[in-house]
Structure formats: C-alpha cells, structure tokens
Amino acid sequence: MSHVAHTVAVRASGVDMFFGTPDNQVVALKQADFEARRGELIMLVGPSGCGKTTLLSVIAGTLTPQAGTVEVFGQRLDGLGQEELTTFRRKNLGFVFQSFNLIPTLSVVENVMVPLLIQGRPYDEARARALAIIEKVGLKGRDDGRPNALSGGQQQRVAIARALVHEPPLLICDEPTSALDKDTGAHIMELVRDLSRSPERCVVVVTHDHRIFRFADRIAEMEDGRISRVVDDPKLLDTTHL
C-alpha cells in the first residue's frame, strides 16, 4: 500500500452537482476537487451559497453528484446504490448539524444511543456507551432530561456525543457553531478538537465563522462551486472578505 493511500481519507475529484431543471439550473459544484487526510481537522470555508454544504453532502453519500468521483477510505461512493450508501454512512460517519437535529421527544441519552442502535448494538450496551461519552462532553447528570431543556451549546455537545459515540472514522460538521455565541462556539470547537482527533479519524468542518479557523489543521477555501485554494496554516488565510 502506498503512502498516499494510507493517509488520504476523502478524495473528491471533478465533482459536478446541479440542482433544478435543465432550463432553470443551479450549479452548486463545478469540477470541484477536494482532499482530506486521516488524522486531520480540515475546514471548508467560503461565502454562503458557494457549495460547502453540497460538497459535504456528496462526501457523506447523501447526495449523488452528476459527475466526478468520490472516494472515502478507499471506497468509491459513485456507483453505490441507496442501500449500500446507507450502510456506508452507518459504519463510517458521524454528523454534527447547525440546527443540532436532536429528537425532542427522546431523552439526551436516548438521542446519543441512536447511531449504536442503528448499528444493531444491544440497548444496554448502547446506553452504557452513550452515558460514558455524555460524561466526556461535560453533561453528566443531564442524560435523562430532554434536549430542549438544555442551552444551545449544551445541545450541540449532545450532538457531538451522538456523532462520536460509535467512533466513526469520518466526522462531518456543517456550521456547528453558527447557531451559538462566540464563546460557546469556541468551546464547542475545542470539544470537537479534543474528542475527535485521532490518527485514523478525519474531521471535516464546514464553516464561515472565522473565529474558529484557528482550530483547523488545514483550510480549504471554496468559491463558486469549487475549491479555490488550500491553506496549511490558518493564520495565513485572509479572512477580511468572509
């Protein structure tokens, strides 16, 4: 196995994604190339509407692009059927959403158990593992409460616990801090960095919140449906136009 094959976690090349009808077409991705490595936290930044979420969805296997190839941990996603994509997501992915997406009628611990139960783990084991990670995100004692009783920052902590409870090799976060205030956002990113970093795991964070750029190992800048440049040191990125 070559060195490259070992370190590349996600590779998307020449990805085209259009929405709408042929005569009323929205181009979301145009010949987009993207690469993320194992063990890194890479941020995908750019102005609103430039295609960040669409690219993330393509990587997550929830959207199938019209052209291009997508490879995650050596597995080609293009050509997979719905069922295979579902299995792929179940095994490999953890999600953190901007709007948390916690199920309001379930308790905190039940929400965190969901990925394990989807994988078919027994209820008791799922509960034990969920409780352990809830403690790690600093919400010990809140496990039986409802998510709505928590603050936004606390809800996002629950979401992070849910995204990591099954130890997925790929964690994707779409605007994880944009519903939160500055300090809370920074805390959440700290938590993501501390809990999710591992030599095998790749973390992709979509954001336009430049206050959290410092948590990134690399930053990929997007413009009009494609990656315009990749910066190795966040400090080098000119954030004035964002």
Binding site: T53, L56, S57, A60, T62, L63, E83, T86, T87, F88, R89, R90, K91, L93, F95, F97, Q98, S99, N101, I103, P104, T105, L106, S107, E110, M113, V114, P115, L117, I118, Q119, Y123, D174
Partner: protein, 348 residues
C-alpha cells in the same frame, strides 16, 4: 430502535393524546354505531326471542315474523300428523289496545304509566276484562309497548270472533329429529312454510325465521340504510381522524426521521419503527374506544334506549378496522419518509 420508536411516540404527551383520541373516537363510533344497528335490527325478530319454540309454521306467503297471514284452524291437525312432530301449538298475534281501570290506554298509542303494573291489576281488551296473573320480562319489539300473553282460546275471545286467528303454529320435533329436517317434512307434507327459530346472527341457518325477518327489513325498509350509513360514517370519520393525526405525527417527526436516515438507518428499520408506533397507538386507541363503547352501551341498556347489542364479532371487526387504519397510516408515513432526501438534514 423499536424501544426508541415507542419513546418517540410516548414522548410527546399532547400529540399522543390527540392521536389516541382520534383512534379511540373512531373505534367508539364504529363499535357503538354497529352495536346500535344490530340492537335495532334484533327488535325486528323479537317474537323469536320471546317465544321459544323450535319450529314455526306459517302460511306459505309469509316472509317475516311480523307479517302474519292467518292459517286455517284445520292446518294445525295437518301439521300434527307430520312424522316427527312431538307437539304443535297454535299462536295468535295481533295488536290490541288495552284500557286500564283508570281509563288510560295501554299499548301503541297509550301514555306511559307512572306506576308499574302488578299482579292482580285488571284491564280491558275490546271491552273484555283481563287480569294480570303473572309478569315476565321479555325483549321489546320494534313498535314498543307491552306484550300480553294468554292462552290461545282466550286470545281468540279478545278478537271478537275474527274468522281466522291462527297466525303461526309452534312445533316441537321429536327426539332425534332436527328442526330443519322437520321443517323440510312439514313443507313437503302440508305445503305450508316451516321455519327454524335460531336467533344467533352469526350462526342462524337458511330456514331461520329471525334471519329471514332480518333480511326482509334489510331489503324492504330504510332502517339498515340509515344505520348502515351511520356505521360507514363512523368508519370514514375514524379513518380520516386517525389517519390524519398519525400523518401529522409523522410530518412533525419527518425531520428527525430524515436525520436517522442520514445517520445510516435503512428504510426497513424506519418502516418497522413506524409500524411499531402506528400499531401501538392503534392498540391503545382501540382499547380506549371499545371500553368507552361498552360503558356507553351499559348506560344505554340501563335506560333501555336505544338498543345496544355488542357482539364479540363487532369488537373483532372494529379491532381489525383500527389496525387497518394503523396499517394505512404507517404506510403513508413510510412513503413520506422514504421520499425525504437524507441530504435535507443539512438544511435549516
């Protein structure tokens, strides 16, 4: 995941209450309307219930028990001579008016009485005196009003010498002869019409007079139609309400089902979650509705109006329909969720 599916269902008390109300209401409506329907229909063959003879014989033109066409008194002898007849007794039925001693009328047009009749009371039928020697509790008939039972000869007397008074003949088969077998022999030997007297709606035979009466009313009167429409209405309202409430439950949870789907749950798992939710709600809703129908029925039976016969079959049918509603609701929910794009979880 099914445990979580149930927790999702029970997690929102207000929504659950609405869903259960819808299901319970439709179960109640269906069970209650059909019970009243069968109750009313059972009034049509009241004589079959009150007079326990195994075989009834009538004029060949008779179609149902309330429509007596008088027979000749000599027909009784012809029936008695049929092989297999243990005994045959004459029956006269007619509507009469009774005048109580206080001048009040008793019967179809009479006023309701403030004090109940008791043994020893006297009244007049066609100016002929009658005295109560016993009181029995019997099933009421469609027309309402009390029954006066007396011997055939006395009954004849009250009719002021009407030419023909024999409405039906009540026949008992000899040991070893079944009622329907005997009916066949009587019809063959006498040319009269013979009926069996089974009144259990689910098992009555072709020859049952109760059954023929039921179907006669079914085809010749508007009663089944008006009650049938009420039953159907209950069904439609039930389907609409519970389908709608379950659908809104799915809609409100659509976002979360989409998230579960994005996290890697296949449609199979989600479909089973929805089935678990729908059938659980259906089961509880049916229980509540059937319970309420029972309670209302009991109260109605105590008041005597309207009639209420909740056969176990009605409960089973209601149960099946409620589960059917749950099934359809779940299917609609599944279709809805299957159309949701997993990518939609990233939006708003």
């Amino acid at each position: 995941m099914y445990r979580l599916a149930l927790n999702m269902l029970f997690g929102d008390r207000a929504k659950l209450a609405m869903l259960l109300c819808g299901l319970a209401f439709s179960a109640l409506l269906m069970a209650q309307q059909s019970s009243v329907f069968f109750g009313i229909m059972s009034w049509t063959y009241t004589p079959m219930v009150n007079i326990r003879a195994q075989v009834w014989v009538s004029d060949p033109m008779v179609e149902q028990v309330n429509d007596a066409k008088p027979l000749r008194d000599t027909d009784l002898g012809r029936v008695r001579s049929v092989d297999g007849v243990a005994w045959a007794a004459p029956l006269h039925t007619s509507f009469v008016q009774a005048r109580m001693q206080d001048g009040n009328l008793l019967g179809p047009d009479g006023k309701p009485r403030s004090t109940p009749l008791k043994v020893g009371d006297t009244f007049e039928i066609n100016d002929i005196q009658a005295r109560i020697v016993g009181i029995c509790k019997v099933k009421r008939a469609f027309t309402g009003g009390p029954f006066v039972y007396t011997t055939y000869d006395r009954a004849k007397g009250y009719t002021l010498g009407a030419r023909r008074t024999l409405s039906f003949m009540l026949v008992e088969p000899q040991k070893g002869v079944t009622p329907s077998e005997l009916c066949g022999r009587i019809e063959r030997d006498t040319g009269l019409k013979a009926w069996t007297s089974d009144t259990v709606i689910w098992s009555w035979g072709e020859r049952s007079l109760a059954r023929n009466t039921f179907w006669w009313f079914w085809t010749n009167t508007g009663i089944p139609f008006s009650f049938g429409t009420a039953v159907l209405l209950g069904l439609f309202v039930g389907i609409a309400i519970s389908g709608q409430t379950f659908y809104s439950f799915v809609l409100e949870n659509l976002k979360y089902f989409a998230a579960i789907k994005a996290m890697g749950a296949g449609m199979g798992v989600i479909a089973r979650m929805l089935f678990v939710q729908a059938f659980t709600a259906g089961l509880i809703g049916f229980g509540l509705g059937a319970g309420m129908a029972q309670a209302i029925g009991r109260a109605m039976i105590e008041k005597g109006m309207p009639p209420f016969v909740m056969y176990p079959q009605i409960l089973w049918a209601t149960f099946a329909l409620v589960l059917g509603i749950s099934f359809v609701s779940a299917i609609i929910g599944i279709i809805k969720v299957s159309r949701v794009d997993a990518a939609s979880v990233f939006r708003g």
